[in-house]
Amino acid sequence: MSPALIVATNILLFFTLYAQVLLLFTFFEKKNVFTNTGGNNDTPLKRYPIVTVIVPVWNEEKTLGGTIESLLALDYPKDKLDILIVDDGSTDNTRQVANTYKTHPEVRVFSKTNGGKHTAVNLGISKARGEFIGCLDADSYVDKNALSRIIRCFEDSQVMAVTPAIKVHTPENILQQMQSVEYDMGIFLRKVYGSMNAIHVAPGPFSIFRKEVFDKLGGYVKAHNTEDMEFAMRMHKNHYPIANVYDSYVYTVTPKTIKGLYKQRLRWVYGFLENAKDYRMMIFNRKYGNLGVFTLPAAIISIFVALFFTGLAIVRIASSLWRKILEMQAIGIPLRFEWPQFEWFFVNTSETSMVVYALSLSTVFVILVGKKLSEGNMKPNISMLYFFMFYGILAPTWLFKAVYNVALKKKTTWR
């Protein structure tokens, strides 16, 4: 490596390590502090306000039933629940499935011509009866304690929105198991960001808001197909705190195929970058607290850090491939097989590698803490292996494409 490249690598590694240490530091600092007053405390609430849950749905006949069933099973008084299914012009049997739930007094069904998720949620908001309003995607399912744990958090009058802990619904294949590790890490991150009042996404699955937030800030906008990110940023712009309850579990169906995952993540990363552009006045602006000075800049820089290190890895792989090609050119395909021999001398002990080892260790720790928050134990499992094996290969593809699309002003689509 050239000296300039070594310096650049060390600066980026320092930044990455700094971010990692800050997250761990905050985690331990606030380890026993919930952003709500509940946590595992499932004693009855002081009062049960009416909560509207909007389920925007478009061609989701297969998963809608499960979503509504999970809402009906919530440990929350039925007469205080207001479930709105908003069919956004489905062309399959979604409407028929939705109509079967009309027999439940707490369920109402609305239909409209297709206009995008944000329009469906906005229709729901306009029809809402609740003091609190939330949204649940029709491919997600709530744990029975999820709502009461979230509502307990609103006993703090400062809190304007609460995000849950999102887990992968029955991870089946390797790709979904890989995502389950990522989602567990997300639980850790959201808990830490929540304690810093720096959550920059109020995700579609079951984020709950005070109704006055919509009254004062308006409804959702298209926002580059990531309306939940935009709304969270709008809230921060108006200094409305967003909290997190890490044991309010919501399960979501994740993509089963690489193509599906790629499209979803491309939309997320592209949407984040575009929304960050739209709210650039918040970046490095201490007026917006930790969100301005840390979360937003870190999220943007980390995309470029990931791409930089992917580039380095590609160069290394290409150089060892080149060596193999040269070998084949020089002596043909070797007929004998030689087992690689381990000798500590050949272990990379450069300064950069040492920092990378430290970072890898802390990443493993973050994953294990995420697992503890999500499943109650820190036992390593096979999913972690899948995560380490494949995530680093897959993620750069959508990161690169998202940056490319933003740079060339190419739009991404939902599906």
Binding site: M1, I6, N10, F14, L17, Y18, V21, L22, F25, T26, E29, N197, H236, H239, P241, R286, K287, Y288, G289, N290, L291, G292, V293, F294, R323, L326, E327, Q329, A330, I331, F345, F346, N348, T349, S350, E351, S353, M354, V355, A358
Partner: protein, 232 residues
């Protein structure tokens, strides 16, 4: 409301700095340990050469039949690989690595001289190659490939002695060797049968040029080192 705990950001900065410094310290310590490893190996090789020299001195008083195995330490193969690795990877120990490389080249030359004396005295025909390469960017595009060929030859004919030298190494003994055979900077260059051959040669080419390879038995010989070549 939004607020920033600047003190925390500062403490985290200090902690991160401390981790970085620790990483640098550990890396440096391990780097030095690797250098020590190479030094220890070179000391062993040096003793082997001294032993061979002593053996040669004794030869004048005895017959060639008592010479036995005059090959150098088996450490040489491993030493070459480690030096090669160190040259690329131990950035913070560049001076030490360069010194070790010079030392290694001298050990090779000493063995070469000893081997020549031995062959004159005992009328044995050693099979050897003096190989000159360069690690300088753009100076020798084919050196990496030639290194692979020589590695393969060494595997195929363990009795072959390959002495490899970095053409750019600032060491008078190497410069003398270069001028002795009038080696021009058209690399890779190999001295075979006292004449210089330039350019890339395949395993088959080498076997044609050196038919005596087929007569070699499996003994250990010196090896070469460069970032372009691995152990020979």
């Amino acid at each position: 409301m939004h607020s920033v705990d600047w003190k925390k950001y500062f403490y985290v900065f200090l902690v991160t700095g401390a981790i970085f410094l620790t990483a640098f310290f550990v890396s440096n310590t391990l780097g030095n340990k690797k250098i020590e490893d190479i030094q220890t190996m070179q000391n062993r090789v040096s003793i082997d050469i001294l032993s061979s020299e002593t053996q040669f001195a004794l030869l004048s008083e005895s017959s060639c039949e008592t010479v036995g195995d005059t090959s150098l330490s088996k450490d040489l193969d491993s030493l070459a690989a480690k030096l090669s690795y160190a040259e690329v990877n131990l950035n913070s120990n560049k001076e030490d690595v360069l010194w070790l490389k010079k030392n290694y080249s001298l050990l090779e030359i000493k063995d070469y001289v000893l081997m020549k004396k031995l062959s004159d005295r005992c009328q044995v025909k050693p099979v050897y190659i003096l190989y000159f390469y360069s690690n300088r960017a753009g100076a020798c595009p084919d050196c990496q490939k030639e290194g692979i060929v020589l590695t393969e030859l060494r595997k195929k004919y363990p009795g072959l002695r390959v002495y490899s030298f970095d053409y750019d190494l600032d060491l008078s003994a190497v410069k003398t060797l270069e001028s002795l055979y009038n080696v021009q900077p058209e690399l890779p260059a190999m001295v075979i049968h006292r004449s210089v051959q330039y350019g890339w040669k395949s395993v088959e080419d080498m076997e044609k040029v050196m038919p005596e390879l087929a007569t070699l038995t499996g003994t250990t010989t010196p090896v070469e080192t460069s970032k372009n070549t691995t152990k020979k």
